[in-house]
Symmetry: C2
Subunit: 279 residues, 2 copies
Amino acid sequence: MNIAIVGIGLIGGSIGIRLKETKTFDKIIGVEKNEINQKKAIQLGLVDEIESLEDAIKSSHVIVLTIPVDAIMSILPGILDVVTTQVIIDMGSTKSNILNLIKDHPNRGRYVAAHPMAGTEYSGPEAAIPDLFKDKMMVYVEAFRSDEDAFDAADSITEQLEMKSSFMTAEEHDMHTAYVSHISHLTSFALALTVLEKEKSQGRIFELAGSGFQSTVRLAKSSPDMWTPIIKQNKSNVLEVLKEHIKQLQYIHDKIEKEDYDAVYKWMKKSNKIKRIIK
Amino acid sequence: MNIAIVGIGLIGGSIGIRLKETKTFDKIIGVEKNEINQKKAIQLGLVDEIESLEDAIKSSHVIVLTIPVDAIMSILPGILDVVTTQVIIDMGSTKSNILNLIKDHPNRGRYVAAHPMAGTEYSGPEAAIPDLFKDKMMVYVEAFRSDEDAFDAADSITEQLEMKSSFMTAEEHDMHTAYVSHISHLTSFALALTVLEKEKSQGRIFELAGSGFQSTVRLAKSSPDMWTPIIKQNKSNVLEVLKEHIKQLQYIHDKIEKEDYDAVYKWMKKSNKIKRIIK
């Protein structure tokens, strides 16, 4: 039994490496437009061979989509048109629009919506690492709409990746990820730009950048090719959380301006409650 | 020769541990108001004994201040009044107000303004670690106003801590730290609160929090006792950078709202330039 991985970057490549280790499939087939990345994927041993999407669908039982979410939107209906007993797993970071797009497709049952909550700020085949998914969360979205054997095939991959799992509706998923993932990326991009702009006039400003700065801006290295589509597909949730985040910053700006340091203290103290969530 | 460390938390305690290792001083004397922290400091071996500030000034050659910046403001003039040949090193995170406060003091030369660009989100004596400062930057501010022997004493401690060093004016220091440190803390506090508020109505929201979220909010665990005074003492720089950061976030909010995804892509791409700064 073969598996096809469509898009061999950080996520696709890391799945490839790990499934090679576990020997779950006879062959791991890579589908990748970019010729340089095709070569890298073979050289790095992320996949066994490169095929066209058409051939890969024919020769595989499982097809995993690990391309940007707008690309998933454009190829998923066409794949569903041609599958029979195959299973298609979409690993994209947003779900409502995609699920809406294919909800009435006659082959809907062959499709599993899954989102591995794992990643780094790096991208491309060379960013792939075998332990990327270990102990992280795989979120299944509207799993009850997938055929049982299709879901089981997806879940056995989740097991091979050594992940935990959770079930959500598309609305829950897209709202939650806006809060715990998408906003973190936007604040990092914004913070990096704030300081980069200032550096133009002041220079030397990064000489003092310590580990605190590094951890808050590291996500600003993330790929715009991946992140622009995520923001686009999750527009309304992202706008909501962005608005609330700006409100928090505006609140503290005003308190500092008015020299109300009791309010500043209380605001920080309240924020400290995050200790019960993160180690 | 003895050294007195005034305030035995993350910074003071880490200096204590390290200087015990290097055996630079005969005795490391801790000055600490909080009785629980006094006991911890002794138990953890951060200092050799606890003394009152008055006694510690008399029995030490070097006095290091590692208390919140407003507390430094209130005790530094009194310490300068009574020193003769001793050296006082202030390790606080803001400098303009402090330097302004003591600029005409007859014993000004005995004082060295230094800021170790090192820390973690943890606080208190139990947060102290020996390698906190290794390879980090010690920033000297207006070093030319310190007596040569006083500066040399401070610099030999910088060497014992295995730090690099840099020289700045107070204005440069306070502006640069607002950009690469103070703003990171404020955005982390704000981000934690944004998500904590949402959790009240939605629950389960942290189930999906991955490493990206963790790294952008970890500074929200920082101590309000330390950070409120920093924000207060660096008010004008903090307000400036906060305003620019909000402007960046408002800009991207508006572009997303208008569905101008080309602009979103370009904004992220520009932010990627941070790659040349951080690893």
